[in-house]
């Protein structure tokens, strides 16, 4: 989906979906700590960072045009908004890739609900990898852990120094 969309913001939202999918597959193979850190780090960190990057580096002229269009729209009544919404929805439906994606999703969900009789397996002593990972991180891989911390600090300071805008102090 990121391949087919031209809008950068839409790319970011499709990326959110794929990150969630990756986190779900981590859960399926039993790497629960990695799934949680995937959600926290990628969706909470990287995606927000990417959105900030898009906002900071988007062209100002097109943004102004869009803002003008928005403010013109706001002058009209609520009815206009409803019509606009339906137009947008129609446009969304008519695009072939959206039809493909939602058709696939619907077909898969119908198949799953037909095939599966959902039954709850009694969980016997659910094992988490959190304890194991914590112990191993601070004993065997302690050097790498410290190096990762130092790397993050260096990156933080470098980015701050690099993007510093000179502020004239009176």
């Amino acid at each position: 989906m990121i391949l087919f969309t031209e809008n950068v913001i839409h790319c970011a939202f499709w990326l959110l979906l794929s990150f969630l999918g990756v986190a779900g597959s981590y859960v399926l193979v039993g790497a629960d700590f990695l799934a949680v850190s995937q959600i926290v780090v990628y969706i909470g960190g990287v995606l927000i960072l990417l959105l900030f990057g898009i906002m900071l580096t988007s062209n100002l002229e097109t943004e102004k045009r869009q803002n003008n269009a928005l403010s013109q729209n706001e002058n009209f009544s609520l009815k206009f908004f409803v019509i606009l919404f339906f137009k947008k929805a129609f446009y969304f439906i008519t695009k072939i890739e959206n039809i493909l994606a939602f058709g696939l999703l619907g077909w898969l969900s119908v198949k799953i609900f037909e095939e599966k009789k959902w039954q709850i397996i009694p969980q016997v002593n659910p094992q988490t990898t959190l304890h194991n990972i914590g112990i191993r991180l601070l004993t065997e891989h302690f050097l790498a852990f410290e190096l990762a911390g130092i790397l993050l600090l260096v990156v933080l300071v470098c980015v701050l120094v690099f993007t510093k805008i000179k502020i004239s102090v009176k």
């Binding site: 391949l3 700590f33 995937q38 990417l50 900030f52 580096t57 194991n132 990762a148 990156v155 690099f162």
Partner: protein
């Protein structure tokens, strides 16, 4: 699992090769790193020492650092040249 990671890797590679906007290229790189992470986790599924998962954790940290630096460079280029299109 391996098929999923291979598919994700090639989608990331295609994004990386075809897109014009550098932020989207960065997204492609993130997707490729995610694919490698899935691969590592899939191979460490039976490993009691969980080395693959630990390595995936470090890959995640490095990916975050890399994306932060790349975005900083992009913001700086934007201030200088008023566009970031490649």
């Amino acid at each position: 699992m391996l098929l999923l990671s291979a598919g994700l890797f090639f989608i990331g590679l295609a994004i990386f090769l075809t897109k014009k906007h550098p932020v989207v290229i960065l997204m492609g790189i993130e997707l490729m790193l995610n694919a490698t992470n899935i691969n590592l986790v899939a191979f460490s599924q039976q490993d009691p020492r969980l080395q693959g998962q630990l390595f995936a954790l470090f890959v995640m940290i490095v990916a975050v650092a890399e994306s932060a630096v790349a975005l900083a460079i992009m913001v700086k280029i934007f201030y200088n040249q008023n566009t970031v299109k490649l």
